[in-house]
Point group: C2
């Protein structure tokens, strides 16, 4: 009753921000993302009659209390209920990137936990059902389960809000450079952000336009139209931050270095480098470039003292692996 | 046929952003501001039959072409038409602060020009008519003419869109500290910003709520309710930037230091310092505090290497003075 899974983080082109049904994490709108090859969480779960309580290791530290502790146990309970088992579990999780800085650690974390724990518990779930299960733990985790470019269908019920692959990882050879400008834990959790955005005077206007944006981004990916894709993705990222700035209370996720890099990107574009950015609910930037331009981009980053970056390409979703963590 | 006027910049609590009638600068919404005692423009205008062409000095440099040149001459022409004179003019303008960095240089500049030139031309205009005339040159200039706390009524015609004093300068002893974080000229003019905001998906939603905001801010000033006033003013400033970020193309007016200071302000508040901020279409911050807290605020600014700031209190509007520039 032991299994290990690895799952990627994902970056959304069209963002998930706001929930229709808070407890089930049914989102206010659909979203579209790509999995990231080099932002990975690995989780081993073992259910055992010998355990008196659930034991959670996260990056080699024990998590014995607090919000993450409660959230992981709630998810283990969901899986125990489905599998009709009572055993406590030991979960060991390792990430290769800093958590809670807007790098979608909870997306990859709960995707890996869902796949590992459901397999350890003996469940044989379809990919669709795995995405539904992961979604309840952490909304965007559902997008880290299918391969490559992924759409999360908004849905209007627990069963209809799920994610699916829309293009395989190798469909479009993009480079995604994650520039880490802040490794401090963010002040406001995404869960809180999803809640307060509903008081933004702009939230309803956003939802009116979102279906068109989703249609458009899928079209631009299909056509591999990098300019139109990038333009839309940047506007969507700035719209997310327009929503956080007008939430009540407002949330400023940016750091000084976020703005320095955004302003440099405008200059680099004028110099002829074709790059576009996205930002999640955090200070870090996700830069998109064509494969051929990657070296030029990395040089510019280093020349401007952005040395903390992670190079990615579109990746597979969550999958079982053989090597357990211990 | 010579007159000199001095006019303050103003900072809007409720912002002017977007125009109903572009050419007449009739705004999409009303706005409320306060004049700043230490951000001043002084202008001397002399009409003379001896001049062959209009001569414009700005901070001791001649302005012989370009956008400002055209804009000043267009305004002199308006005043010549009203006064039925043909003489060319020499205008000498001095500011005590950097221009085009979001310190409302055009507001104080065109307010001073309007008052000086109309008097030099022999016109006897009411304050209301002066505000209407200034508005056509630069929208927010109309708010730099009446005293103290000022409302610019949106109006629906040239005659009905004007500004008036709602409270005298000494009604509320606020300190307004302008922190200059960037002295570079801004990339996108306000005129351009007013134009592209109409493509923000959020522009219409903003206008729906704006009358309530104006009513509220006037009430909070009247009651001298600093907490409610400050909360509203901050949310409005962030809303302005939510609009610029979602304009098409997006405009990012902030600099790294803008964000560093905004984030520090949140910390200072938690430490018990009651301050609030506003930002115009530029990178600089306008900090509001009670008189008693000013020294504490200035110390914190200096301790954090924000040494370029300008201390203000609520001020009178534009007025004629006796000492000509030459």
């Amino acid at each position: 009753m032991k299994a290990t899974a690895v799952a990627p983080s994902n970056i959304a082109f069209i963002k998930y921000w706001g929930k229709k049904v808070e407890k089930l994490r049914i989102p206010s709108n659909g979203s579209v993302s790509v999995n990231l090859s080099n932002l990975l969480t690995t989780t081993t779960v073992e259910f055992s009659p010998k355990l008196k309580k659930d034991i959670i290791f996260y990056n080699k530290k024990i998590v014995g209390e607090g919000r993450t502790h409660k959230r992981v146990i709630a998810h283990l309970n969901r899986i125990r209920n489905l599998a009709k088992i009572n055993y406590k579990a030991k979960t060991i999780t390792q990430t290769n990137f800093p958590d809670s800085v807007g790098l979608a650690s909870s997306a990859s974390g709960y995707a890996a936990l869902t796949v590992a724990a459901s397999n350890a518990a003996g469940l044989k779930l379809s990919e669709k059902d795995l995405t539904i299960l992961a979604r309840v733990a952490s909304g965007s985790a559902c997008r880290s389960i299918p391969d490559g470019f992924v759409e999360w269908l908004e849905g209007n019920s627990h069963e209809s809000s799920y994610a699916l692959s829309i293009f395989p990882p190798d469909y479009w050879k993009l480079t995604i450079v994650v520039v880490v400008v802040g490794r401090e834990k963010k002040q406001v959790s995404s869960t809180q952000g999803h809640r307060v955005v509903k008081e933004s005077p702009f939230f309803k206007s956003r939802l009116k336009n979102i279906k068109k944006k989703i249609t458009d981004v899928k079209k631009f990916i299909k056509e591999k139209n990098f300019a139109k894709f990038g333009h839309l993705v940047e506007r969507e990222a700035l719209e997310l931050h327009a929503l956080t700035l007008t939430s009540n209370p407002p949330i400023i996720y940016w750091q000084p270095e976020t703005v320095r890099l955004m302003n440099l990107i405008q200059i680099w574009k004028q110099e002829g480098l074709e790059i576009y950015f996205s930002i999640d609910a955090g200070p870090n930037l996700f830069l998109f470039s064509k494969e051929n331009d990657t070296n030029d981009l990395l040089k510019k980053l280093r020349d401007n003292k952005f040395n903390d970056f992670i190079l990615n390409k579109p990746a597979s979703g969550a999958r079982l692996i053989k090597n357990d963590l211990s």
